[in-house]
Subunit: 193 residues, 2 copies
DNA sequence: GCTATTCTGGAATAATCGTTCCTTTATTTT
DNA sequence: AAAATAAAGGAACGATTATTCCAGAATAGC
């Protein structure tokens, strides 16, 4: 009936992600975006509405990818405490590979949050709630199993883990020595037991 | 001889800081900036060269303020470990007061780093080096005093503290419960001993 | 072949960007 | 009063912003 879409949606969304990830929303112009996505202006607007919608779409997609990675770690059937550590380990590796020093897309979005629309803010808040909720749940299980002292406040520990997690991801942008950063993970875990 | 400057430099720089702090560099337009600084276009350009230079000036100034606060904490003569804790405590309080949810100016700048000029990047890298250096020094002293296990790697602990520090400051942007965040500080300190 | 859809490429829009410049008024010191 | 500087306000700059629109070529199924 009609000419099919020539570009691969996944490829194009990945390229858009790279762009927003490294340069943020406001510093990314449509010209740069189109050039990097290898898309004509017309194709872009018919397929993605506008810049704002694309950003939202791409951030949500990043979040889903991360969730998938976490789900897979959980399915490994490790102990609660080991699961926490593994999540952080792969989370750190994921952002390290690929382009250098771009940090974490979600972290960068958070610091740009005030200037983004309400839908994007909701994605970010939702991510924070979910991550802390997951950590809290894992901590409770670990406490039942005796891996973590049951007298400790699970919600506080969860907030602690999440804060640290965001922090290392930010540090990875400036830090030259990656081994040191990975070593901090063990230090962090030491505070849990 | 001549008409003296009417605006107060400190006041105006504080207003500029607020602006860049909450909205970042790229999302802050000159119109908004001038309106918020309560300065005419002409006065602005004769006094501050341009937007880029002002940002640089204001970030450097923020850093100096922070350094001053730290110096004052150090001069209290607390033990090395207590000094570390106090630095983090006041650092957390400093960003909490004033406008809400704006996080930390330096942290926000870091995530926007890739799109800023080399001079600004240098300020950020310098801040990281200095902060980690300070923490490392305090840790070594604490190890000599027996407050911290001497077998632990001081550089790794320093990177750990700094990562956590950046992380909580970021968390403060999304987190509704401030008490929980402050409680994470004790958890973090637990990993040092 | 016909129709429908998507492609590329570029023109054109209106708005906004940072910056420069000019004019007028105000306030200081000599 | 004269000289010097700074203020405010606004016009104007060219560049760039996001977005819309149009023309023509390409490719699918009927």
């Amino acid at each position: 009936m009609a000419r099919p879409r020539a570009f691969d949606m996944e490829t194009v969304l990945n390229r858009a992600t790279e762009m927003f990830w490294t340069r943020g929303y406001h510093a990314t112009s449509m010209d740069e975006l189109l050039k990097h996505m290898k898309l004509s202006r017309a194709s872009f607007y018919t397929n993605f509405t506008n810049k704002e919608t694309l950003y939202q779409m791409v951030l949500e997609r990043y979040r889903n990818t991360q969730s998938g990675v976490i789900e897979r770690v959980i399915s490994l059937g490790l102990s609660p405490l080991e699961t926490i550590k593994r999540i952080l380990t792969v989370g750190l590796q994921a952002d390290a590979e690929g382009a250098t020093n771009r940090g974490c897309f979600m972290v960068n979005s958070t610091s740009e949050m005030e200037t983004l629309n309400e839908d994007v803010k909701e994605i970010i808040r939702c991510n924070q709630r979910d991550m802390e909720g997951l950590f809290e749940q894992l901590i409770r299980k670990a406490q039942e199993k005796g891996e973590i002292n049951p007298s400790k406040n699970a919600a506080v520990l969860a907030a602690y883990i999440f804060s640290y997690f965001q922090g290392v991801k930010l540090s990875s942008m400036t830090h030259e020595n990656v081994e040191v950063l990975q070593a901090t993970l063990d230090v962090m875990m030491g505070a849990l037991v």
